[in-house]
């Protein structure tokens, strides 16, 4: 049975997820356009969005294959972009009940905004809020891919429209909410500088994973 407070959390999650769903729709439209330009059929673009639901991974995998990098390199690049989900999953783990299979299924609902808004700030997460926030974003992600894949000619050049500025803005909104919590600013700045310093030297995606290790200073607090 789903308790009343679970339902309330889920509904609050849905409300919090809707603005991110609208932004996700713009992002996934960009993905649909680029994927079809790269040789995907619209159905392939749609299946990728439905199964992966992770923008950075989808863009990375697609751009690698288009430039002749091959399937293995594409999957590796996507996995590197997704490496942050290892850190997010570790943080979320104690808040998910049930056996390993059930926890694995619940973990599939993690996308960046949902994970951030479901964070209680004390090391625990509200999982029903997480599920609720992901639901509209999933719908938005699929709808946007459909629009982009079938209507790419109407959208035109993504960079000319400034749509590439949306992805960092999306994460910036999540970051600014986090920075309102005490004790987070110095460590966020350290993580950002470390990640930027690593960019020229390691494959894309790795700087974020290494920067996550800065959180280990928590051991000394």
């Amino acid at each position: 049975m789903v308790h009343a407070d679970h339902r309330a959390s889920f509904r609050r999650g849905v409300r919090l997820g809707v603005p991110f769903a609208a932004v996700g729709l713009l992002l996934s439209s960009s993905f649909g356009v680029l994927a079809v330009q790269a040789g995907f059929s619209p159905v392939q673009a749609l299946v990728m969005s439905a199964l992966v639901h992770a923008g950075a991974a989808q863009f990375a995998a697609t751009s690698i294959v288009v430039t002749g990098g091959g399937v293995v390199a594409g999957v590796v690049a996507a996995s590197l972009m997704n490496a942050r989900f290892l850190a997010m999953g570790a943080a979320l783990a104690p808040s998910l009940p049930g056996g390993p299979a059930l926890r694995a299924v619940q973990a599939q609902t993690v996308v960046d905004p949902s994970w951030a808004v479901a964070n209680n700030g004390d090391g625990t997460f509200d999982r029903w809020l997480l599920f609720g926030a992901t639901a509209p974003q999933y719908v938005g992600w699929i709808s946007g891919t459909l629009l982009g894949a079938f209507g790419g000619d109407l959208i035109g050049d993504i960079e000319r429209l400034g749509l590439d500025a949306i992805y960092p803005t999306f994460f910036l909104a999540l970051l600014i909410a986090e920075l309102r919590r005490p004790g987070s600013r110095g460590i966020a700045l350290t993580g950002a500088l470390l990640a930027l310093g690593l960019v020229p030297f390691v494959p894309a995606g790795i700087p974020i994973l290494v920067a996550a290790a800065v959180a280990l200073v928590g051991l000394a607090r």
Binding site: L51, W115, G123, G162, Y167, L196
Partner: protein, 109 residues
């Protein structure tokens, strides 16, 4: 450049999907179902700001393996000002895209 074959693309799609699902499941499957020590909790509390800051920095200021400041950096900065003022995410996103598009229209990269 020839388009990748449908088979190549299906392998890419299914491979990326399987890898993403495994990565998302890893933490909860391996670490879940038990109470973590307080020191671990102190680390977990710090993960969101660090990971998000690294994501923002690398997505706004880098392109692959090169650091790069272009029109989108200005667009994101303008959106950041609005977000700090507590304006709505959708407004910030539209301003980010508009500022970027106008600068590109003026011939900037």
């Amino acid at each position: 450049m020839t388009d990748p074959s449908p088979t190549t693309l299906w392998l890419l799609i299914l491979g990326t999907a399987a890898a993403t699902m495994a990565i998302k499941a890893f933490g909860p499957v391996v670490l879940g179902g038990r109470q973590l020590p307080p020191a671990a909790t102190r680390v977990l509390v710090l993960l969101p700001p660090v990971v998000l800051a690294a994501l923002v920095a690398t997505s706004a200021l880098a392109d692959g393996s090169t650091l790069e400041i272009d029109s989108s950096t200005a667009g994101v900065a303008a959106a950041g000002v609005l977000l700090v003022q507590g304006r709505h995410l959708l407004l910030a996103v539209l301003v980010a895209a508009a500022v970027t598009a106008v600068l590109r229209l003026l011939g900037l990269p």
